[in-house]
Chain length 343, copies 4
Amino acid sequence: MAAIHAAVAGASGYAGGEVLRLLLGHPEVRIGALTGNSNAGARLGGLQPHLPQLADRVLLPTGTEALAGHDVVFLALPHGQSAAVAAELGEDVLVVDCGADFRLKDAAAWERFYGSSHAGTWPYGLPELPGARDALRGAKRIAVPGCYPTAVSLALFPAYAAGLAGPEAVVVAASGTSGAGKAAKPHLLGSEVMGAMSPYGVGGGHRHTPEMVQNLSAAAGEPVTVSFTPTLAPMPRGILATCSAKARPGVTADAVRAAYEKAFAGEPFARLLPEGQWPSTASVLGSNTALVQVALDEAAGRIVAISAIDNLAKGTAGGAVQSMNIALGLPEELGLPATGVAP
Amino acid sequence: MAAIHAAVAGASGYAGGEVLRLLLGHPEVRIGALTGNSNAGARLGGLQPHLPQLADRVLLPTGTEALAGHDVVFLALPHGQSAAVAAELGEDVLVVDCGADFRLKDAAAWERFYGSSHAGTWPYGLPELPGARDALRGAKRIAVPGCYPTAVSLALFPAYAAGLAGPEAVVVAASGTSGAGKAAKPHLLGSEVMGAMSPYGVGGGHRHTPEMVQNLSAAAGEPVTVSFTPTLAPMPRGILATCSAKARPGVTADAVRAAYEKAFAGEPFARLLPEGQWPSTASVLGSNTALVQVALDEAAGRIVAISAIDNLAKGTAGGAVQSMNIALGLPEELGLPATGVAP
Amino acid sequence: MAAIHAAVAGASGYAGGEVLRLLLGHPEVRIGALTGNSNAGARLGGLQPHLPQLADRVLLPTGTEALAGHDVVFLALPHGQSAAVAAELGEDVLVVDCGADFRLKDAAAWERFYGSSHAGTWPYGLPELPGARDALRGAKRIAVPGCYPTAVSLALFPAYAAGLAGPEAVVVAASGTSGAGKAAKPHLLGSEVMGAMSPYGVGGGHRHTPEMVQNLSAAAGEPVTVSFTPTLAPMPRGILATCSAKARPGVTADAVRAAYEKAFAGEPFARLLPEGQWPSTASVLGSNTALVQVALDEAAGRIVAISAIDNLAKGTAGGAVQSMNIALGLPEELGLPATGVAP
Amino acid sequence: MAAIHAAVAGASGYAGGEVLRLLLGHPEVRIGALTGNSNAGARLGGLQPHLPQLADRVLLPTGTEALAGHDVVFLALPHGQSAAVAAELGEDVLVVDCGADFRLKDAAAWERFYGSSHAGTWPYGLPELPGARDALRGAKRIAVPGCYPTAVSLALFPAYAAGLAGPEAVVVAASGTSGAGKAAKPHLLGSEVMGAMSPYGVGGGHRHTPEMVQNLSAAAGEPVTVSFTPTLAPMPRGILATCSAKARPGVTADAVRAAYEKAFAGEPFARLLPEGQWPSTASVLGSNTALVQVALDEAAGRIVAISAIDNLAKGTAGGAVQSMNIALGLPEELGLPATGVAP
């Protein structure tokens, strides 16, 4: 097979940098154009010093001129910018959008949370969800899930798909600071975040909420609500999503375990831990693996499911490359690390 | 007033060290005997190098010989050891127990979670709870609350006391590693915890759960269940408790706000933040202040209340000294820092 | 004594916030006007959430209108701004400048490192240096030392004052990120600094270098050069300064120890640790204490002296308040914490 | 080529875990026996949860029974244990020792620093040093360098090899906590190390000192002394080594730059950064790359060279695999990540 020629738009940010890190380890991909906006003209070495092989590459302005002529184009752009860029790329080019624009099916939800008109819906890059992998095969447009919805959907879809959980999910998730991006804001300074656990977007306002609702409702076959509280944790990467819902009457711990074992059987990157072992974000640093565990709290009558992912890897760039592999008919695991960098 | 002569049993651990740090700043207290067990005979300077004024003090073995003759004795001992020590101290000595032994009223809950027979119940050192302050005045025995119950009770009792919240609370709390103590265990190594968010005691097993149930049920006047998931966060100190419960029908955001404003009016150490500002553990490092905020998530129908405390200060030693002040008739704020060390 | 009325210019930054934290614990000080520039008009509660007692204070524009009429004015301003502000305050007002403007005696050094004309020289607020305490008594203008020069001068002046060390010092210091201030810059983001040790200003370019040269040369009575490499460490606060110089021929370990014991005898805030115990920044978090240790490396022929301070406390605001106490004839330790917040 | 069959002795520790992580990404290696001592019989999944592919492997007792029959055996054992294990493996087996036993040539230095008799000297696994790569080709025994000596030797050998630096080097290095290993010790608890920079082994006592002396003296062709101060930094991984030595008379910045460019020309894993860009440990997390920069401090007359490595990767396991590749005649870069995981 000839090498796959891939371009990355938004190569100076955290998501773009992680796409590049993973593509450098992908045996079938050759890295083509790299683009940025405010950083166009700059050497990549000053922006992404952890990628020494690409240090002398120079960022081009994001646009058709740079991005045309590749087999795959990864978009790591602020929301609202992907549609215009994708429209100018041919329909035979695989466009993998790490942004939010094409994740939601519900245009009204999009407009409520993003305040702009809905661009459309693309095949959804979370292959572990029921039916998702099939929809990705041969796709030419892929919407990579948000990092929180990746973690939360993997933790809870087995319970909903098996009809074990009530329709009101409660999620508290802790994210590393890279989830907030590379733009310099005072509250993201190291001095502010080290030693700090702090919530944000409390009360239903986070834009990832409707995506979780979409995924869990689809798994349940009925509307599910999600009370979602994201928190910022003092670490660069990682999401730990603590999710729970009422157990439906008569649900047993064995039934819960069986549903999760079935949901993750054969999955290369989503692993149910042995009973009694709980996931840590430290175990998945730099890895495309999601670790999941579940328990039944009998006193409170709730199913508690917890997942750990790397927000930039499985939660963004890893999910993007995994989906690309499926779309192109490559082995799904090709070039993707399943091991974390620990300790 | 003559100086209050105070002893600290368990002075080599984290709770004992924090009691000493606060007592060093208390204008009415003179620090007497310091005791330890495995560290008896050691200089404090090698164990608590942040307390240079006490560096040359030598730890005595924990027991009546060392602890007798003080006005106040703080116990920072492993659970199960307080009753025997307290029994040997006179009834005129104020004993402030930072351990769990005398917190619970329900002997069956004690036995279920601790596997030993219940020692009894002492006045409870969380003065912000309804009726608690009065019970502390003149008390000679005080049970200092657990760190998680302090954070969770402060976040949720106003909603329960005002009849706004349904009886099933869901709590996910992140704690700094000092909450796990100073005993060297592999999973608490810096190499393991930096970069790591990880849950433990999932599914209702954490020993602080019955204490939360006790406090919230008392506030509600009816049984409340708590689904509690503690997580370990990569920071030395601090608890962020994200708590929620279904809003009772017809509850409005204004009603929620009003209940919280009333609950914290005049409290020196529990502060409701202005609307829109959320608490961070970084703001309360080293401080006896608890910061609280609340919102109504209308889409999910839940009241979401979040508190931040320093687990060793307000969550242990600060609560202990605050309660001592009340018991002794001193100004409640005396010697206690309300400011955090930030950034 | 009537309360001392103190204003703080630059109250929204890290240095200004730490001055306020310490003044809140000072029994003789009443906090007056707080000023800022870009933040004028803002509530302090949104900017310094760790200072709840001052949350409702509103920042005034920095200038005579706000700052006049106080007994003491603390300046925590960008360099180059202090002279103009101080000139408008009366000569009977104590002005304590946390900035660099008045630290250097050598106008040429100032101009070389700061590129502007030299404003002058004020009494230097590091009372532990030979002769410095006397110069502070009754002073109406005080230049607070830089954070690195505080740490380095305390580590090395005893060796130079006793004639034990050769004239070429080598210093590598690690600083917490708060030393770089609160302005949002990409390389200071939490995502960038956690997990990162990185040098900056290598090769003699750091502006604190001439201040170290000044202090050590004065102690030695001859010119001393300093090879200074600062590094940024993944922690909010703290400086660990590792300093060395060749031992002069015949110098013994006993002579080194004796010189350091003599230098720090009776000092309330600079402590020589017992032999074999080395300082950690964690022991001085939030404290005005400097911990120092020294050894003679016989194989390499060097005296190695190491100090740990809190860059914002002893390295800035604590040094400022300590110097204020001396200038005003108050007890030097008044209101200053000597204990660290640990763990 | 048939797969290389590799065993790892000490697979439960940090070094062993990192060898496994890298071998999992090596296309020519098949992982055979894994051994431990105190953990023999345990599943690897509970000990190294970041390696999910090996989760069900069970540790065997370290010894010939388990280790025989492999092409390569990696030893990640406490010092003093390698010689006995290696002696029982055939001379045709490649033994790669991550421990200290066979690094030093000077038996007297070994005995002084380790207090036992010297086991011998094996080819030294730092291929970037002059002559080292040739000595590794076809070798059957390899001594992997210590992590600090790797960082320090790479930073300074070019200056010494080119005759630019005086014979007294001064090194201050900051290491992540994984360098101290996985044994649970109180001073390595997360509560203790977060927020802490602290020195240890000050004054020449660190066992890595004679290895630095050996490497730099060999490069210089004359005896070099090293004043070495290691410090523990609040991060799990990484070493930043700040190294300096007097510039010999007449040495220019251009000559220094030229020497470093020559030393690293063509090196796959040791990179001299462009002028003005300084290395950060964050850029090499999980990577086998060493980043180096150098400057001439004209005022102090010193060459200042700084390197950043991942102590477990290039500093241990990466150096081990790189050396294995050379010894076996494989491409030197095979299976080794040159990219860091950042941010």
